[in-house]
């Protein structure tokens, strides 16, 4: 009985709000303002909207507001926050009370948000309506001085870029930051320059994803795969039993034991060539075949840029199962190659959807592909695409009701699992419906792997009806209800394993 009440509570929480209707005009305006600027509209805007009668006038109003909001200081600052989160670099500190003031005249936007080359690049993506690809392919940077005292231990833009631009001055800030540049200093690299590649060659990105003797830039490569191609880089080798994947932010740490193993210990343990070891063990090779060639393009970069580019390659299994392998003459070619991949496009569309439509609105594969097409039509211009996205019907829809997946719905599908997994000590009989948590979480992980991953389940996924696959996924997400109606995975189990 207790479990049934629990189930009801979960389902209610998943299914609300109940209305599948369009948002009201006021709701639409509120959502538009919140999504684009991060603040609510002021009363005068609601009043203006209320006066409009004709549908065409209302549509024109929302077009105008989208332009206005996208060109606001808040939208630009917000893009810096969004991208700081996307890249998992430190988000700039702001005075939230001032930022969110309902009195527009009192709102204080972020000052000094563009305090270094990476946040400046994030800002320009929005303020100049740049192509989204510029994050990967940009060859222009603005450099900012740093306070040598407070930023001690963190390389500044000038020291970082001067290794490839020897004429750059020392960090123009003195020890006490008594002298600063009135404007940032711009540096430009040729389009075919091999040493720089957008965000990937900024001091803060490289600091966030630092490299070591042992790591050999694999952490940096993993970040590129995760951020730009939505490759989760899930560990193939399970983490220690006392650790959950969610506890460990980096795939490198997950795979290699996280904080339980120091890199010195790891080095000592790897008395044979690390590349040979990774190549010989199929579990290691599954990731290293992707990470090592890309990592080599970062190899000459330590804490600053290196005038000598390093050769490497973009190598991965595409979503259609084919192997992509393209040699690269330097890091400068990496961003451009990634931006040509369909996996990049689909991944970025998912990100835009999450940010501007919302995770509560489902994105089908067909719709995703339509949006990729539109993204390309708009030359991948950031603001143009956002404006398009918020003009789409999904933006003004309430979330749809969640369909409850019963065990009866998935029983025949689980029988298909049993046709390969015959049951036993390690693998239970799935169709029985009573499955231990560890196996359920492993199922959840495997069915959500990219199609290209050889650990993806079911193995014959291509022959499954996508609706059936979705049903299995949803059944697990809803707690894997057993034949008796009990919840086998609690929200905590699901949250902890994500």
């Amino acid at each position: 009985m207790k479990s049934l009440i629990f189930l009801a509570a979960i389902l209610l929480s998943l299914a609300s709000p109940a209305s599948p209707t369009d948002l009201s005009n006021a709701g639409h305006l509120r959502k538009l303002s919140l999504h684009l600027r991060g603040v609510t509209p002021v009363p005068a805007e609601y009043a203006e909207l209320q006066k409009l009668q004709k549908d065409t006038d209302i549509a024109a109003f929302f077009q105008r507001k989208a332009d206005e909001y996208l060109n606001s200081a808040q939208a630009r600052d917000r893009m810096v926050f969004r991208l700081s989160e996307k890249f998992q670099v430190e988000t700039p500190a702001i005075d939230m009370n001032a930022y969110l003031s309902t009195d527009v005249s009192q709102r204080k936007y972020v000052t000094g948000i563009r305090q270094d080359s990476i946040s400046d690049l994030f800002y320009r993506i929005s303020s100049q309506n740049l192509s989204w690809d510029y994050l990967l392919t940009g060859k222009d940077y603005n450099l900012y001085p740093k306070n040598a005292f407070f930023d001690f231990g963190d390389i500044n833009d000038f020291d970082f870029f001067r290794t490839v631009k020897p004429d750059l001055p020392e960090n123009p800030s003195d020890f006490f930051l008594e002298t600063t540049l009135a404007d940032p200093m711009g540096v430009h690299f040729a389009a075919d320059d091999l040493t720089v590649s957008g965000v990937l060659t900024t001091p803060r990105f490289l600091s966030r994803y630092n490299t070591t003797n042992v790591n050999k830039n694999r952490r940096r490569a993993a970040a590129v795969f995760r951020i730009f191609m939505c490759d989760p880089m899930f560990p193939i080798i399970p983490p220690p039993p006392d650790k959950k994947t969610a506890d460990l932010p980096n795939a490198f740490d997950d795979i290699h034991g996280g904080a339980t193993v120091t890199e010195q210990q790891l080095t000592a343990a790897m008395q044979v060539s690390s590349d040979a070891r990774h190549g010989a063990d199929p579990n290691c090779a599954a990731c290293h075949v992707k990470l090592d060639p890309m990592g080599r393009t970062f190899q000459n970069i330590g804490v600053a840029l290196n005038p000598e580019p390093a050769r490497g390659a973009l190598h991965f299994t595409k979503s259609d199962g084919t192997i992509f392998d393209q040699g690269l003459s330097g890091i400068g070619e990496l961003g451009g190659q990634v931006a040509k991949q369909s996996e990049y496009l689909n991944c970025q569309i998912k990100w835009f959807w999450k940010e501007f439509i919302g995770v509560d609105v489902a994105l089908s594969t067909d719709r995703e592909n339509q949006l990729v097409e539109q993204f390309n039509k708009l030359s991948r211009k950031t603001n143009d695409f956002i404006k398009f996205l918020v003009s789409q019907p999904e933006f003004t829809k309430e979330p749809a009701k969640i369909q409850i997946i019963s065990f009866d719905r998935v029983r025949p599908l689980l029988q298909r699992c049993d046709s390969c997994h015959s049951g036993g000590v390690d693998v239970p009989a799935f169709a029985g419906g009573v499955i231990d948590k560890t196996t359920l979480l492993k199922m959840r992980h495997r069915v959500n792997l990219p199609d290209s991953d050889h650990h993806r389940m079911p193995r014959d996924w291509a022959r499954w009806d996508p609706k059936d696959l979705d049903a299995v996924k949803q059944w697990i997400e809803q707690g894997a209800v057993s034949p008796s109606g009990s919840i086998q995975l609690s929200p905590n189990d699901l949250a902890g394993a994500k």
């Binding site: 290794t163 020897p166 890199e263 970069i301 330590g302 600053a304 390093a310």
Partner: protein, 321 residues
């Protein structure tokens, strides 16, 4: 003295006296010191009230210090486990600013003390430096540049060397030292806070880019050129400091490879540093009795150790006693 104290000292001279950081100098404060820095003439500080001070500089050189480094990881060849030696010579500096003219006769011959105007008398610090170290990495027309002046390098000290009985750990697996060797990156790593995440972790702290070595005998390579230095600590040449190092090299195929090295530079450097202090004490050197320092006599003018080291004593608004 522990190595971290040595490094702290190096940091202090690189960025000025930290003691004044909490209470920056007041711009309007008198008296402003006039500093005579004319090459070939005695370095002198003169104050408007007639007081004068001169500089006393003493230095000692260490013998060539060998540090064992072991090849612990290698993607260039299958060879590892070899032990080589990195050899370098150090020069340690002691510098005092001493009163030569002072109405208070008891102060003549004593070390000048300074503080920022507005600070209380407890803030007076002696104008002396005992932490300066140089090594021989200055070579030819290429000046290693970690910060303006790069005082950590000397033209007069012998160049640093790498010596191995076996070089099969290098690309191409040569049995003896190759005629030349180029490494695009020679980095050091340490356990340092990641500024983006706040987590302490092993990370690259910097090093040298474009390092050229040339053969001087079958077992020895000499570092002849370094294109640039980089480092998040911006102090001493980290090329030689970290316990874990990596060399990025190029295989004959043109592909990049990496050699991991393990060393104990800090331990050897601490022993050397302390040994030089002991030697100075054994020699009973009293800096106050030395002749006045002639500006520019320590190294090339642009590389003057003194120019870099003592610059922090002459901020506007300092008061002296």
């Amino acid at each position: 003295m522990q190595m971290n104290k040595v490094l702290t000292g190096l940091v202090l001279f690189a960025f000025g006296a930290v003691a004044v950081a909490d209470d920056p100098p007041v711009p309007a404060a008198p008296p402003v010191a006039t500093v005579t820095k004319v090459p070939g003439q005695a370095f002198k500080m003169a104050l408007a009230d007639g007081r004068e001070a001169s500089l006393k500089v003493f230095s000692l050189d260490s013998p060539m210090v060998p540090t064992n480094i072991k090849v612990i990881d290698n993607t260039c060849t299958d060879w590892q486990g070899m032990t080589c030696q990195y050899k370098m010579k150090f020069r340690r500096f002691w510098i005092d600013l001493v009163w030569s003219k002072n109405p208070d006769a008891s102060r003549v011959g004593q070390i000048v003390e300074y503080k920022s105007n507005g600070q209380d008398d407890k803030s007076f610090q002696k104008a002396e430096s005992v932490n300066g170290l140089q090594t021989g990495l200055y070579a030819g027309d290429k000046i290693p540049k970690i910060s303006d002046g790069a005082p950590a390098y000397s033209e007069r000290l012998p160049l640093n060397e790498l010596s191995c009985d076996d070089y099969r750990w290098l690309p191409g697996a040569p049995t003896e030292a190759p005629d030349t060797l180029h490494t695009s990156r020679w980095d050091s790593e340490d356990n340092i806070k990641n500024a983006e995440t706040g987590v302490m972790e092993n990370r690259t702290e910097g090093g040298a880019y474009g390092v050229d070595l040339k053969k001087i005998d079958a077992k020895t390579l000499q570092i002849t050129r370094i294109n640039s230095f980089t480092g998040i600590l911006r102090t001493f040449p980290v090329l030689i400091l970290g316990a874990n190092q990596s060399l990025t090299l190029t295989k004959p195929s043109g592909d990049i490879c990496q050699v991991g090295l393990s060393a104990n530079f800090q331990g050897d450097l601490t022993v050397t540093y302390n040994g030089l202090e002991q030697k100075r004490q054994d020699l009973k050197v009293d800096l106050k009795t030395l002749p006045d320092y002639v500006y520019g006599s320590d190294e090339l003018l642009d590389m003057s150790f003194v120019k870099f080291e003592v610059g922090t004593w002459f901020f506007d608004g300092m008061v002296y006693r």
